[in-house]
Symmetry: C2
Amino acid sequence: MSDRGTGQAPISGESLLFLTDDQLRRGIEAMFFAYRGFTADPDRILQEYAYGRAHHRAIHFIKRSPGNTVNNLLDILGVTKQSLNRVLRALIEDGLVESRIGKQDRRERHLFLTETGQELEKELSEAQRGRMRAAYRDAGPDAVAGFRQVLEQIMDPEMRRHFQTFKEGS
Amino acid sequence: MSDRGTGQAPISGESLLFLTDDQLRRGIEAMFFAYRGFTADPDRILQEYAYGRAHHRAIHFIKRSPGNTVNNLLDILGVTKQSLNRVLRALIEDGLVESRIGKQDRRERHLFLTETGQELEKELSEAQRGRMRAAYRDAGPDAVAGFRQVLEQIMDPEMRRHFQTFKEGS
DNA sequence: AGTTTATGTCAGCCTTGTTGACTTTCCAAG
DNA sequence: CTTGGAAAGTCAACAAGGCTGACATAAACT
């Protein structure tokens, strides 16, 4: 906050070395390499079930807020309904996801994980959490706070809204 | 080691609340949403040139270490040579990348950006750095240090090796 | 009654990943 | 000098998962 009256000026009292192009490049590459690790474990598991990342994302967010409508999920995932539909159809056919017609608005479909769906979700999320937990533990709580803070700033405002919505509500 | 009035965690004196499943889930979702933002700006630019993320990645790492061999790039990007080759062929045909036969080992191809290639690289990386810079500035140096630390822990050891190699050498 | 909304579905296209098979080039060891 | 194998390139085929466009329902809204 007390930015010592600059905010922008070439140099302030505070070191701004962390904003050099080289530092930024390192951050960019860190994102690239880390994201590969981030998805590696679930990817391995998904392969056994002949699913892909798209299925994982759907499963994750259905688990996250059961009863969500298709439209809502579309918004969160940022894909077209045709793309999502292909994935949902497979998950419903395979008995991992249940689609219930809305009671107030019968046009809506509310999505839930079945027993089987919850099992796969657990397997996937435990693998992914395992890696995150190890990383968090090694880095420590302060680093984790910074990690989350920077990630939140990187998001588009619209995604940040989704993210923050999830933070509060169960 | 008095427990700091939290209870809940039957573990050590230090609060380990940042390792709860819920905290980990938030981190996972943060990675998901942030990565979308991370790639959004370059994606928009690439569309104008009818290129994709794969082209961006190749361009980035060729710029990063000019003269690298194809095999080396393959290792960094973690894709098959057929995949990379398709991308490289397009970039070479379009005059963005130059492939020079090795002098010691004439089987090898060393990759360089042409003038035009450097221009596109600059456009892409400036867009991506712009977002990162804003995020870094808003979060501050300590948060950035934590961000980088956690990302590094998330990587596979093999990727971490690539990442750290890049940290030192120019 | 007519319009809008939510969803689903079909068809076709693109990018980017995969395997497998095969060739060319060329270094290096026998 | 011959041969084995590494590095690179190419062709073919395929799959996942994005996209657009068009169209069909059903239900809600006006």
